[in-house]
Symmetry: C2
Subunit: 347 residues, 2 copies
DNA sequence: TAGATTGAAGTAACCGGTTACTTCAAGGCA
DNA sequence: TGCCTTGAAGTAACCGGTTACTTCAATCTA
């Protein structure tokens, strides 16, 4: 067993005091005489005593960890969220327990319940699951924040990105730029975020009276590439592609470039998420900034804000408004190279 | 307290059996009569009983979690590792407890000890810390894997990337391509991986009899940009830049491109790590593939491999040999655009 | 000086599970 | 019929901390 080392009773025996004194001394309780404290500290050091966090948690009824429930998401999005959460966790002196939420609702509930007693709070990112079902089966007195969940009737803190508004803004932007025949590469079918983006796309196209077509996708780079190939092969009159996320847009970009299609002159291209890559590809990708790391931080803040207060937890629903980032794939800002710059004397 | 719900005793009372029977029934022990099992299961369902993982762990002396100790690393590297670990954790039915390792050695030890009793094993990535100091203060009977640590005298499982060999290979590659005046943008000073890369660079340059200069850096995109600016401003006769990681190479690339320096014709450029971005920037970046996610997976496999066996844990040191990935920044393979490809009929 | 007050340390119950050991009843055998 | 096995359920100790409550001695008040 990896857990057996000296216990508080060993230290007590070694120091010639009671376990209560050991506990008090090591936890900085003030009603301990300096000489006793010294005795305990010396004994602890000598024995190499390290408190057993698990036992401590059981006794104190808190674990000092926040559970993070994630689907098996695509890299960037997932890691950006963890980054934000991790940063906030540091500030709050908390640890992060990562847990996977399976696709299957029943196993998902099981996985989440597995966290009871190991976490003080829960952050759930599960755009693929029905929150009603999920939350009904959850320990009710565990502070929870739901990120980008589907609509539901449960009472939980919630942070939601306005995917619909983001898609709307993007269609408007493409329209302003002169596009009138758009294709949307959609995200996975069961995903609420993907659905909202698609809905925003279709309704905006209808409102503006422009052409709006849907191609299937799944948030992967390959799906984006496949969609672009399809657009080229079918010789559609498309003049703008709006992918449901950046990775698909980048997949599409690779294919378009390899076919000699100039971006944005022959075709406009846009993504969604503003992953770090987006500004680094050439040409830089126009997208919708989501600040998923910021959402992670905010989620943590929400959890810790209502911690000192009562447990009534009047639940809040916070909308994050995404921001359109216009880059080169829809508007060329700078010439690609600037020959007037300082010459580089290459021998 | 977030943890109080029905306990095993509540279920026992409600079902009219003993706690032992409840525990046995719910854990699938076979010496339970079917009717009793049914009684227990019904009672548990009715009360909404969920086992308290913390208590379970204390009793079983295992936590079902692996601790991951990370410095506050730059995005891609960190997230790739977590991705690999997370994937492996799924396969092993384990959870991941993320923990930050502060720069300060004393606080680092404290942070790691804080994990005792909450994890069954430990994965440590701390290229900035002295492993001797770290491991001396660690619970000795906690299976541990050290990733890319500095040399030391302790007995631990260890996975190490051959940074020296990678740098060597890259210098050879640049030399083959015709470079004879190289600059290395170095990583942060205290980082063992950065040191090895720099050592490989310098020694290879000496062996090949070519010029090798060092510029300071810290693994950040900005540092790469700054170094490139410095190269341009000082009008060095450099014909190849080898950055200690990809992010710095990409930072340098942006600056070089904005100054009209053609890659690779005017200047070769290479990085290290092969982060996902590397193949997506234009021109695609030549680099050394590290497969950090694979290291994460491997680390987990090592931990679980010696789990069923005895605890003697004959420690192993495994070297991962990195692979050179030649892309466009050192060797142009394809023309940038291919006008002969299927025409795209843009109206 | 007796009785009340104060401060510090000790005892033991508790957190919520698991499980070695004990008890008890039913079936097997002589 | 009486004793022994066998199987299943119950009791209580334990995992390693924390802490309410108790004990006890020293100091303070009248």
């Amino acid at each position: 067993m990896p857990t057996n080392g000296p216990t508080v009773r060993d230290v007590a025996r070694h120091a010639g005091v009671s376990v209560a004194s050991v506990s008090r001394a090591l936890n900085g309780i003030k009603t301990v005489r300096p000489d006793v404290r010294k005795l305990v500290e010396d004994a602890a050091r000598e024995l190499g005593y390290v408190p057993h966090a698990g036992a401590r948690n059981l006794s104190l009824q808190r674990s000092g960890a926040v559970g993070v429930a994630l689907p098996d998401l695509h890299g960037e999005y997932f890691s950006e969220l963890v980054r934000g959460l991790h940063q906030a966790a540091l500030d709050h002196g908390t640890q992060l327990l990562l847990s996977n939420v399976p696709q299957d609702p029943e196993r998902a509930v099981e996985a989440l319940n597995h966290l009871r007693g190991r976490v003080d709070a829960l952050v759930i990112l599960a755009p693929h699951l029905d929150p009603d079902c999920l939350l009904r089966n959850l320990s009710p007195n565990l502070p929870t924040v739901l990120l980008n969940g589907a609509p539901h009737k449960r009472n939980v803190h919630e942070l939601r990105l306005d995917n619909y508004a983001g898609a709307q803004a993007m269609v408007q932007h493409l329209h302003d730029r002169g596009c009138y025949d758009l294709v949307h590469i959609a995200g996975p079918a069961g995903n609420i975020e993907a659905q909202e983006r698609q809905r925003g796309f279709l309704e905006s196209c209808a409102e503006l009276g422009i052409n709006g077509r849907i191609l299937a996708g799944d948030f992967s780079e390959e799906a984006g590439a496949a969609a672009a190939s399809e657009i080229i092969a079918s010789r559609l009159t498309t003049d703008g592609i709006f992918a449901a996320n950046d990775m698909m847009a980048i997949g599409a970009m690779t294919v378009l470039k390899s076919h000699g299609i100039a971006l944005p002159d022959d075709m406009a291209l846009a993504g969604f998420d503003d992953i770090p890559l987006a500004r680094l590809v050439t040409p830089a990708l126009t997208t919708i900034r989501v600040d998923i790391a910021g959402m992670g931080k905010r989620a943590m803040a929400v959890l810790f804000q209502d911690d000192p207060k009562d447990r009534v937890n009047t639940p809040i629903l916070e909308w994050k408004i995404p921001e359109l980032i216009a880059r080169e794939t829809t508007t060329r800002v700078n010439p690609r190279t600037d020959p007037s710059a300082a010459a580089h004397n290459n021998p």
